[in-house]
C-alpha cells in the first residue's frame, strides 16, 4: 500500500513539475501543494471515502444490527472503530504533509495553527461526506458506484487533482463557497500563504457554515435510512 501510494505520488509530482515549468509557477510550491493536499485528504479520508465502504458493508450484510442493539451511538462507534484500522494510512498521510512542509521556504506558527484548525474542519466535512454517501446504502444496497461518483467530484473540485486557483475566477469563487475545498485546498493553501487573504477567509467561513447545515442533515439522512433498514438474524 505504501509503495503503491509512493508510485502514484511520483507520477503526480512529475506531472506537476512539467506543468510548473510551462505555467511559470514555482515547481517547489506546486510539489509542496500536492504533498500537503494529498496528505490531508488521505488523513481525513476525503477522496477514497473508505468509511462509506464500511457503512455499505455493515448495512448490506446486516451486521449493523448488532451495533443498533447496543446502548451507543452506532455511527460514532463505527467511525471510531474505522479510525482504529487506519494506522498505516494516517502515518503515511502525516509523512506526506510533513514532506510538503519541507518544500516550503518558510511558515509561521500562526500558519501552522490555522493549518491544524483547517485539518480539524476537514475531518468533520469528510465525516459528513462519508456518512451522507454511506447512508444511501439504505436506499440502494449497491452503492459502490455512487461512492465512485462522489469520489470523482471530490478529487477534482476539492483541489486534490488540481489547485482551485487553476480554475477561472468565477468557478474558483463558486467553489470557495462550497465545502469541497476544505478537505485539500484550504489546508494546503494556508501553509503557502503568509497573510490571511479573502480566499482563505471565504473558504474558512463557508466551511463552518456548511458544517452547521450538513452535520445535522447527515444524521437526519442516517436516521431516515435506519427506518428502512431490514436485516435477517440479530
Amino acid at each position: 500500500m505504501v509503495l503503491n501510494k509512493a508510485i502514484y505520488l511520483g507520477g503526480i509530482i512529475f506531472l506537476w513539475s512539467l506543468i510548473g515549468k510551462s505555467a511559470s509557477v514555482g515547481v517547489n510550491s506546486l510539489v509542496s501543494y500536492f504533498l500537503i493536499a494529498n496528505g490531508v485528504q488521505g488523513l481525513v479520508d476525503a477522496e477514497s471515502l473508505r468509511f462509506t465502504r464500511t457503512l455499505n458493508e455493515e448495512i448490506k450484510t446486516g451486521t449493523l444490527s448488532a451495533h443498533l442493539l447496543r446502548p451507543i451511538n452506532p455511527v460514532i462507534f463505527l467511525y471510531t472503530s474505522f479510525l482504529g484500522t487506519r494506522g498505516v494510512i494516517i502515518l503515511m498521510a502525516i509523512l506526506l504533509a510533513v514532506t510538503g512542509f519541507l518544500f516550503l521556504p518558510s511558515f509561521s506558527i500562526i500558519q501552522f495553527i490555522l493549518f491544524l484548525i483547517s485539518v480539524f474542519l476537514a475531518f468533520i466535512i469528510s465525516f459528513i461526506f462519508n456518512l451522507l454517501v454511506g447512508s444511501l446504502t439504505f436506499w440502494s444496497p449497491e452503492a459502490n458506484h455512487l461512492q465512485n461518483v462522489a469520489s470523482h467530484f471530490i478529487r477534482v473540485f476539492s483541489g486534490v487533482l488540481i489547485p482551485i486557483t487553476f480554475f477561472s475566477d468565477k468557478i474558483k469563487q463558486i467553489l470557495l463557497l462550497t465545502p469541497l475545498p476544505s478537505v485539500a485546498y484550504l489546508p494546503s493553501i494556508i501553509m503557502q500563504t503568509h497573510n490571511l487573504n479573502k480566499d482563505i477567509l471565504t473558504s474558512f467561513l463557508s466551511t463552518i457554515f456548511w458544517i452547521g447545515i450538513l452535520l445535522p442533515f447527515s444524521f437526519f439522512v442516517w436516521r431516515s435510512g435506519l427506518k428502512r433498514y431490514e436485516a435477517v438474524g440479530i
Partner: protein
C-alpha cells in the same frame, strides 16, 4: 484417431467464445449495478475533462503537447485502460483469488490448456461497449472540435501496433506480479503495485517528457510507456522512426516467453489451499 493440427487452435477459440458469452450474461444480470458503473465512468470522464480544460487555461503545452494532442492522449488512456481491464486485469484478479482459495485446482484438473484458460477466463465485453463508449463521447466531441493536427496512415499503423504490443507486454508484466501469489498467498497488493507501475504517469505525461534512458526502460523491462505514450507519439507523428516499435516487439516477445516459463515454474510450487 489422430488429432488434427488445428485442434489446439479450435479448443482455444472455443474457450474464448464460451468465456466471453458467459461474462456477458453475468454482466447483464445486475442491471442496477451496470447503470451505476456507467454513471461513475461518465462522471470520471467529465471531471477529467474539466481538469484538462482548467489546466490548459493556464498553460499552452504540457511536455510539448497542446490541448488537442492532450485530448488524443486521453483517448488513448481511456482505450488502454478499458482494454486492459476487460481482458487482463479482471482475469489477473480472478487468478490471484483462485490461487489463494485453491479454486485453481478445478481449472488444472480440466482437460484444457490451463495458461490460455486463466488468461482469458473472463472477457467483459459489456464494460467495453456500455461503459467505455458513452463515457468517451464527450471526449470525442472535444477532440473533433479542437482537432488541429493531422494523422498519417503510417503513423496510425505504427500506433495501432504499439497499442497491441503494449497491451500484451503490460499484461505479461502484471501477470508475473500476480504469479507471486503462489508464494505469498495474497494478490491484492501485488495487483495494485503492478497496476501503478504499468500505468505510471499514463494519465497525462507524454513520451517526449521523459529522458531517453527512461523511455528505453519504459518500452523494455517495465513497459509503462508502450501502450499509451508511444502509441500517441506515433499517431501524432512526433515519433517516426520504427526503432521503438522494433524494441517494443522484441520486449513483448521476451515477456511472452517469460510468462510461459514463469507459469510452469509457479505451477511446480503450487500447494493448493483446498486440498
Amino acid at each position: 484417431m489422430k488429432q488434427s493440427v488445428f485442434e489446439p487452435i479450435k479448443i482455444r477459440l472455443e474457450i474464448l467464445k464460451a468465456n466471453t458469452l458467459f461474462s456477458l450474461k453475468e454482466s447483464l444480470a445486475y442491471s442496477l449495478n451496470n447503470w451505476g458503473g456507467l454513471a461513475s465512468t461518465i462522471t470520471y470522464m467529465l471531471t477529467y475533462l474539466v481538469f484538462l480544460s482548467a489546466l490548459y487555461g493556464r498553460v499552452e503545452t504540457i511536455g510539448g503537447y497542446r490541448y488537442s494532442e492532450a485530448l488524443l492522449f486521453t483517448l488513448m488512456v481511456q482505450l488502454n485502460f478499458y482494454l486492459i481491464w476487460v481482458w487482463s486485469m479482471t482475469n489477473l484478479e480472478k487468478l490471484g483469488y483462485d490461487i489463494k482459495t485453491g479454486k485453481l485446482d478445478l481449472i488444472l484438473s480440466k482437460p484444457l490448456p490451463s495458461l490460455w484458460y486463466v488468461t482469458f477466463q473472463k472477457i467483459n465485453l459489456f464494460t467495453l461497449i456500455v461503459e467505455m463508449w458513452p463515457a468517451t463521447l464527450p471526449l470525442l466531441y472535444l477532440l473533433f472540435k479542437h482537432l488541429d493536427f493531422s494523422v498519417t496512415p503510417l503513423g496510425l499503423f505504427y500506433g495501432a501496433l504499439t497499442l497491441f504490443l503494449g497491451q500484451i507486454a503490460t499484461h505479461c508484466f502484471q501477470f508475473l506480479f500476480t504469479l507471486l501469489t503462489f508464494w505469498t498467498g495474497e494478490s491484492k497488493g501485488l495487483t495494485g503495485i503492478s497496476y501503478q507501475i504499468a500505468f505510471f504517469g499514463s494519465d497525462a505525461i507524454p513520451l517526449e517528457a521523459f529522458p531517453k534512458p527512461v523511455i528505453f526502460l519504459g518500452i523494455t523491462a517495465i513497459p509503462f510507456l508502450t501502450h499509451t505514450a508511444l502509441t500517441t507519439s506515433y499517431i501524432l507523428g512526433r515519433t517516426t522512426s520504427p526503432f521503438y516499435l522494433i524494441l517494443a516487439l522484441a520486449s513483448t516477445t521476451i515477456f511472452l516467453f517469460i510468462k510461459i516459463k514463469a507459469w510452469n515454474f509457479a505451477l511446480k510450487h503450487y500447494a493448493s489451499a483446498s486440498s
